[in-house]
Amino acid sequence: MSPLLVFFLSSHIFLGIIAIAFFFSVTMNLLKREVNLFSLKRNSFGGLLAFILSWLTGGYYYVFYYGDSVKPIIKQGLYSWAHNFIMELKEHIFLYLPFLAFIVFIASYLMQDKLKENENLRKSLAMLSLTIFILGLLIAFMGIIISGAVKK
C-alpha cells in the first residue's frame, strides 16, 4: 500500500472517531437542562466537517485500493461474510451520515434560542444526534471486524 493510501486510511479512521466524539458531545449537550449554544454549534460543525473529510478519505481508499487488493483476500478467506455482510452494510450506511450531520448542524444554527426554550425540540434533535453517534460507533466496530478478516 502506498504512503498516500496509508495516510488516507489513517485519516479516515481518525476523522471518523473525531466525528463520533463530536456527536457524543452534541447529544450530551442537548440532554442538559441548560444548552450551551456556542459548544453546540461548534461541535455540530466539527462533527459534520470530520464526517465529510472521513467520507472523502475513506472513499478514496475504498474506491482505489479496497476493491482490487483487500476484497479478494477477504472473499477467499474463512470470513467472506466480513465483506458480503459487514463491508457492504458499512459502506452504504456511511452514505447516510453526512446528511444527518448536516441537519443537526443547520438546526443548531437556525433554532438557537428556540432550542433553549423548547424541551421537545431539544429531545428530537438529541435523538437524531444520538443516532449519528450510534451509527458512527457501529461503523467503527465494523471497520475493526473487516481489518481482522484481512489478517486471517
Binding site: V63, N84, E88, F99, F102, A107, E117, N118
Partner: protein
Amino acid sequence: MTKLQALIFGAIITIIFLTLIIITADLYSPLKDFLKNTFYHHWIGKGILGIIVFLISSLIFNLIPSSQDIDNQKISNKLLSLFFTTILSFLVLTLFYFYEAFIKK
C-alpha cells in the same frame, strides 16, 4: 415552508432514495453498471446522486408556500420523522445484506 423544514424533508427523501438505489443496484446489475460507467464507481455514484436528490428536494420543498414562522412542534415532529426514517432504512439495509450474505443461495 421554512428553510429548516425543507432541509429536513430533503434529508428524509435522500435517506429513502439512498436505501432504494442501494438495494436496486444490488439486485439489478444494469443499474450498478450504469453507476460505475457514469461515476467511475457505484459508491461514488450513489453519493453524488444522494447530494443531488438532497439539493433538489430541499429546493422544491422550500418553494412550497406557507408561513415562514418557525413552529417548534412542526420542526420537532419533522426531526423525529427523519430519525424514524433513518432507523427503518438502517434495519431494511441490515436485513437485506443479511439475506444476501447468509440466506440467499
